[in-house]
Amino acid sequence: MDIGWYLTASALIFTIGAGGVLTRRSPLVILLCLELMLNAANLALIAFARMHGNAEGQIFAVIVMVVAACEVTVGLGVIVAMHRRRLPIDVDELRELQG
């Protein structure tokens, strides 16, 4: 199959993920959308690896998956902690960074 299809699919998933991060207000959904973006990048990496016929892209993909797992762990932990403290589960309500 032509590499273009893979890249098209990857770009599509990435855009969906980015759109989700920008539009959704629930941190849980934002995390999910981040995962989408990461996996879109993984898809592109593997497609290029296959095209060039070496394993370097696949190794990167595995590393990205490890990073993603860590990130989800931390992110979910933060969300659970917020929930326990009865903080609003809404990123627009958390505005302490305002200058």
Binding site: A18, L22, R25, V91, G99
Partner: protein
């Protein structure tokens, strides 16, 4: 390193070692231990100085100028900064006087400061003071001279404000330090003027090159340099108008006064002029300035001493006056005579201060002459020492001061011309010296015994009910930072007696070293240093010598006789004269208004300028423009940047995405 150099270094290093040992281990020593260590260090230093003297005399006559170099600090084009000592007859003469008299003063202090809480600190400072002075007189180049000069100033500050909880003492210390720093600045700037033309910091090289560096006499730069050196000498030696710190320095403990006045500090200016004589002879205008200022000082100090009522201040003004003689002498080319007077003065002035310390102790710290009287029977030993010192100071034959003072005046008279004015002024000063010295002695020791004296006659030493500052009457305690509870008088303390007895002996016989036409010990000894001088070792005519000696003796006796007549025979006269000459008396009592003059000319304008600068320059330029401007810029910048920080998480994410897209487009278009 030859043994001469070794002895010179040992002279210098013993007091330094003493300072460090006492400072580090002083508290662990037994009672009075610090005092014995300090005195021992000085005694060893004096022994080394004698060793240096013996070694120096072994050398052939024209090789008696040895430069001992330890190492070079910097030796490059145009700069030759070394750690070097110049060992020649002049410096050996000075270290003998300094170390010798300081040893006796240390010995005296062992008892005098015995009950003071700051005993250890005192001896550490005292050793450091002597070390600084030895460094000053042994320095072989301008750099080391400046270091010693500044050390002496710092040490004097520490010792004058030794009783640091006494406000008057700390004020006096600050005053001494500020005026001395003024002198340091003069010395440093003068050195620059000389260094610029001669290109060397080393004394001997500079003196050799002075004729080539300044081919004409009175070269403007050399005169400026020498006058700046004189500013340093005046500040250190308490000459008009930089003298006001010296009487105030009487706030320090009495042994410190003895040290400042006899061995260290005030003689530094005399030494400096004698050391720099090749420069001053090439710039006679500067030398004349020195002679005139010395003459003015001796008259101003002599008249001021007449009206003072503080025992120690009278002696302080007499020091100023005697240093005036020395400065006048060495500036006018009477080098050996000036230094000879420096030596005899060290003997009798240390003696006078020690005797005064004994009297002050008997008065439980009170220094007021009006309160004293009749101590003759209560303090016979002190009285004897005071009279010997007073006779030597007044210049009564055959005491030491007679020969040394008259030799200065003799050589001044021999130079002729306008030096006759100085000659005459010198004898007026000698008359005043006899008058004020014996005014002090008669008032303290003669007349009706005061209660303190009566108490002492019955074998009981007076103690004040509550310790207080004698200058202001403020109540004090006897803890650290104030004088201790006990007083010690010479009659009961062997160490004080030994120190005073030795000095009294020296004050009597010291003058025999150099009797005109009979002995010339000092002249011959110092000759190698002053070989290049055209003014050295002139032989005045026999008639002038005889006239000078007779006049000197007559003037001294006249002063003492008048003092006897006014303050013993007929005390009412003193009051009548005071009323008749009220303006003059007020002038002398207020020390010629020098403090007020300096306050008006220097201190207050500086204060006004400071206030003005604070209100205009600081408020508008510094606070408004510099501080306000820079904070304003930062504040404006940060408020602009802060607008970007909305706090919305998704907004930040959008910024990242937009940035990435822009980057991607940039690379796409660029490729």
């Amino acid at each position: 390193m030859s043994s001469l150099e070794l002895f010179a270094w040992a002279t210098l290093l013993f007091p330094l070692a003493g300072t460090i040992v006492i400072a580090v281990a002083g508290r662990r020593l037994p009672r009075r231990g610090a005092g014995y260590v300090g005195t021992g260090a000085l005694a060893l230093s004096f022994a080394s100085a004698i060793g240096a003297l013996v070694m120096l005399q072994d050398l052939p006559h024209d090789e008696r100028q040895v430069v001992a170099v330890a190492w070079d600090y910097a030796n490059s084009v145009g700069v030759d900064a070394q750690l070097s000592l110049l060992v020649d007859p002049l410096s050996v003469f000075m270290i003998l006087v300094v170390a010798g008299v300081s040893t006796l003063i240390h010995l005296y202090s062992i008892s005098y400061l015995d009950s003071d809480e700051g005993y250890v600190r005192f001896f550490s400072y005292l050793n450091f003071f002597v070390f600084s002075m030895l460094l000053l007189v042994l320095a072989g180049n301008f750099l080391l001279l400046i270091i010693g000069w500044a050390f002496v100033g710092a040490a004097s500050y520490m010792l004058i404000s030794f009783w640091y909880r006494r406000t008057t003492a700390t004020d006096a210390g600050i005053k001494a330090f500020v005026i001395n720093v003024l002198g340091d600045v003069g010395l440093v700037l003068g050195t620059f003027f000389i260094f610029k033309h001669l290109g060397t910091l080393d004394f001997l090289k500079a003196f050799e090159g002075v004729k080539e560096g300044f081919p004409q006499t009175n070269d403007a730069d050399l005169v400026a340099g020498c006058i700046l050196l004189l500013v340093g000498a005046f500040a250190k030696s308490a000459q008009v108008p930089l003298h006001t710190w010296l009487p105030d320095a009487m706030e320090g403990p009495t042994p410190v006064s003895a040290l400042i006045h006899a061995a260290t500090m005030v003689t530094a200016g005399v030494y400096l002029i004698a050391r720099m004589h090749p420069l001053f002879e090439q710039a006679p205008i500067a030398a004349d300035v020195g002679a005139i200022v010395g003459c003015a000082t001796l008259l101003i100090a002599g008249t001021t001493a007449l009206a003072q009522t503080d025992l120690k201040r009278v002696i302080a003004y007499s020091t100023m006056s005697q240093i005036g003689y020395m400065i006048m002498g060495v500036s006018a080319g009477a080098y050996a005579a000036g230094l000879f007077h420096l030596m005899t003065h060290a003997f009798f002035k240390a003696l006078l201060f020690m005797a005064a310390g004994s009297v002050i102790a008997a008065m439980a710290g009170n220094q007021n002459l009006d309160r004293m009287g009749g101590f003759r029977r209560a303090l016979p030993f002190t009285y004897g020492c005071m009279v010997v010192g007073g006779l030597a100071l007044a210049g009564v034959p055959p005491f030491s001061g007679f020969f040394s003072k008259d030799e200065i005046l003799l050589l001044l008279g021999d130079r002729g011309g306008w030096f006759w004015i100085l000659y005459a002024a010198g004898y007026v000063g000698a008359f005043l010296t006899g008058l004020y010295t014996f005014r002090m002695i008669f008032r303290a020791f003669w007349g009706e015994p005061v209660p303190e004296a009566r108490e002492l006659e019955e074998g009981h030493l007076h103690h004040a009910h509550a310790p207080s500052n004698p200058a202001t009457g403020e109540l004090e305690d006897t803890d650290v930072g104030f004088p201790g509870p006990e007083h010690h008088i010479a009659e009961r303390e062997p160490t004080m007696k030994i120190a005073m007895g030795t000095l009294a002996f020296l004050a009597i016989v010291g003058g025999f070293l150099q009797i005109p036409k009979v002995t010339h010990v000092v002249d011959h000894f110092l000759e190698p240093t002053f070989e290049d001088s055209a003014l050295y070792a002139r032989e005045p005519s026999g008639g002038l010598i005889a006239f000078g000696l007779v006049l000197g003796a007559f003037v001294a006796f006249a002063g003492i006789g008048l003092a006897y007549y006014v303050w013993v025979k007929n005390p009412a006269i003193a009051t009548r004269v005071r009323e008749r000459l009220a303006p003059l008396y007020k002038l002398f009592l207020n020390k010629w208004y020098f403090d007020e003059l300096i306050a008006m000319l220097v201190a207050r304008p500086a204060l006004w300028f400071g206030v003005w600068a604070q209100q205009t320059f600081e408020r508008i330029f510094v606070n408004g423009l510099l501080v306000g401007g820079s904070t304003g810029i930062v504040r404006a910048g940060s408020s602009a940047v802060r607008a970007a920080q909305t706090g919305f998480l998704r907004y930040y994410a959008l910024l990242i995405v937009v940035g990435m897209v822009v980057l991607a487009f940039y690379f796409l278009l660029a490729s």
